[in-house]
């Protein structure tokens, strides 16, 4: 940095400059675009404690791995040449798939525990629109996203009713995916523990090919969920400027002091 005369800036000059900019900021003469149009008061709320954040990112990583390896297992898109003894392509894909599945189940167990041990925003009640007001707000959220009434979204600290419904559904879908996946995994060792736990799935769905088919279809549902989830999270971050994206890393959000939150 150089000063007006072109010389080097002293530490003292730098501090004065910073103070002046800060005063301008406070007077509202400079408002960086990153700050919303109104320099409202913000307060910090802590929403997601570490078990929830860890399970979220464990699920994000393992589901990505599961989708990539799963599509390979479903339709091998790489082939190897030469002797079979010198390759283990499908073997590794299946190993990664099963290892990731194990991690996902571990994360799911922690999440299910946290559904009961967690507080308000992570509790199982946060997955269902329980009150009448939540149901009304569910339709308000749909109208908001459908841009029917784009200005009037109900404000929630935790999950809004549309999130509640969609996360409950995606949890259910992942549960079916886990059950059908382990049912097929158990087939390689009939009489083993996993086979014993999940062998009922085949007859229930009418055959192992149907189990495979359901597993494959649900993969697509999860693949559809991911871009919508990421888009809406970034969108909320951009529209509300309340640190929605930050909350899944840091656990908390800065929210406006003047907004009334439905679930506070």
């Amino acid at each position: 940095m150089t000063n007006e005369e072109g010389g080097r800036v002293t530490e003292r000059q730098r501090r004065v400059h910073v103070d002046r900019v800060s005063e301008d900021l406070l007077r509202g003469e400079i408002v960086p675009e990153a700050v919303a149009e109104e320099a409202a008061d913000y307060r910090w709320v802590y929403l997601w404690r570490w078990p929830l954040r860890i399970t979220h990112w464990a699920a994000a990583i393992t589901i990505t791995l599961l989708v990539v390896t799963g599509f390979y297992i479903g339709k091998p898109y790489f082939m190897t040449g030469g002797e079979a003894s010198s390759h283990f392509m499908m073997g590794w894909a299946r190993f990664l798939h099963f290892a990731a599945a194990g991690l996902l189940v571990a994360a799911a167990i922690v999440r299910v525990y946290w559904l009961f041990a967690g507080k308000k925003y992570a509790k199982w009640t946060a997955l269902f629109p329980v009150t009448r007001r939540d149901w009304i707000n569910l339709f308000k959220m749909i109208k908001y996203y459908a841009m029917v009434s784009p200005e009037r979204a109900p404000h929630y600290l935790g999950h809004n009713p549309l999130q509640q419904v969609s996360y409950a559904l995606i949890y259910g879908v992942v549960l079916v995916q886990i059950i059908t996946g382990f049912a097929m995994y158990g087939l390689s060792n009939p009489g083993g523990m996993i086979y014993g736990l999940f062998a009922w799935v085949g007859p229930l769905l009418g055959g192992w090919q149907t189990v495979r088919f359901v597993h494959h279809l649900i993969t697509w549902i999860i693949v559809l969920f991911i871009p919508v989830h990421i888009y809406l999270s970034f969108r909320a971050d951009v529209m509300d400027r309340e640190g929605e994206m930050s909350s899944i890393f840091s656990g908390g959000r800065f929210v406006r002091s003047d907004v009334v939150y439905e679930d506070e």
Binding site: E37, M90, Q209, F213, W220, G252
Partner: protein, 390 residues
């Protein structure tokens, strides 16, 4: 009965004596007992027990009912290029009633059935091939003026063991495929008061039937069964896990079309629709036609014929996954899934564009240095982190 012989198995004669009469020597017989023991997964130490039990068997009464079927299972079980002792045992025990093969006809045949039931009440083995039509009162298959349902109910009532041979007797097979016009069902849907052994397959391997009958004759009870009533000694493992082409599966080497280089090299048939990963069967081990070959050995993918509803769930036979109903012929899940994924991406992009247009119209963000923003009250600033959830 099937081989013309001057030495029919007489009442009171044991199987051992009778086999000797038929020219089977002790060595051959023990070899047979060892083979059957191996198929059943028994220790070779038990071979003498099997031999002893079999030699002492009095002529058992077996009634073989053929219902709504194509007779293919009978062909598979009875016709081999060279008759083995196993066939002989089966032929011998199948004496009392087998309407395709027996010499008698009409009243004489039906009389033989009723005599067999009367004489051996509670001790005969019932083998069934073919399904039971239920629609319209079961009129789609009638024998001697009776529906096969009533015949099966009558004969099964006094049977010591019921063995359903083949996919038809197991669950209905092709007759029971959608839309199942005759309402065909398997034996276990009719016979509910005793365990039904399902020798699954379309057709099943003869050795499996022989081994099951030998197990019953030796131990006096049917072998251990899986969740679908199939003997675990034969149906306890997937084809996929016993397949000689498994190394190519694990390596990632697949036949893409039937006449490609990979097919000539004998690579895995997974991509041309092999249902081995979904099918429990002893085919790779027992093989067919006196252990000559089997479908995958001959370069054809498994169609999963030992599994329930395979005509509906394993089709298309040359595709990995079932077609999606309501989306036209053989529209795959991947085509639809990819279309939806593209649709979702397009929807997200459209929504993002709509959002930014809306923002540009209705929200004027201040730009640095222009001072358009309303002057804000210098507030107390952000509250310190509370550090706890509400």
């Amino acid at each position: 009965m099937f081989f013309p012989t001057s030495h029919p198995w007489a009442d009171g004669e044991t199987l051992g004596e009778h086999l000797q009469q038929r020219g089977v020597d002790r060595r051959e017989f023990l070899t047979f007992c060892g083979e059957i023991g191996a198929i059943l997964g028994l220790s070779s130490l038990l071979t003498p027990k099997i031999a002893k039990a079999l030699t002492q068997v009095q002529r058992p009464s077996v009634i073989w009912l053929q219902l709504q079927e194509c007779t293919g299972c009978v062909e598979s079980v009875l016709r081999t290029s060279e008759p083995t002792i196993g066939d002989l045992v089966l032929d011998l025990v199948s004496l009392d009633y087998q309407h395709t093969l027996m010499a008698a006809a009409g009243d004489a045949a039906e009389g033989a059935l009723h005599d067999a039931i009367e004489k051996n009440r509670g001790s005969y083995v019932l083998l069934v091939t073919g399904s039971i039509p239920m629609n319209e009162g079961g009129i789609y298959t009638m024998i001697a003026g009776r529906t096969v349902k009533s015949i099966l109910e009558e004969v099964a009532a006094d049977a010591a063991a019921v063995i359903a041979v083949g996919a038809c007797a197991h669950w209905g097979s092709v007759q029971a495929a959608r839309p199942n016009p005759t309402g065909a069902v398997g034996v276990s849907s009719i016979v509910k008061d005793k365990p039904v052994v399902n020798i699954a397959g379309c057709p099943p391997i003869g050795d499996t039937v022989t081994a099951t009958v030998v197990h019953f004759l030796t131990f006096g009870r049917v072998p251990a069964l899986d969740y679908d009533g199939r003997p675990t000694f034969a149906y306890g493992k997937r084809i996929h896990d016993q397949c000689p082409r498994r190394a190519h599966f694990d390596a990632g080497q697949y036949t893409q079309v039937f006449d490609d280089e990979a097919a000539r090299k004998g690579w895995c048939l997974y991509q041309v629709g092999c249902k081995g990963p979904a099918c429990f069967s002893p085919c790779p081990i027992f093989q067919w036609n006196t252990r000559t070959s089997w479908p995958i050995g001959a370069g054809h993918p498994c169609i999963g014929c030992t599994e329930r509803h395979f005509w509906d769930t394993m089709t298309p036979f040359y595709k990995r996954l079932p077609a999606v109903a309501g989306f036209g012929v053989e529209r795959t899940a991947d085509t639809i899934g990819a279309a939806l994924a593209v649709g979702a991406a397009a929807g997200v992009a459209t929504h993002a564009v709509a959002t930014s247009i809306h923002r540009a119209r209705h929200r004027k963000l201040p730009v640095a240095g222009q001072g358009q923003a309303p002057p804000a009250e210098p507030g107390p600033g952000a509250a310190p982190p509370s550090g706890k959830e509400e």
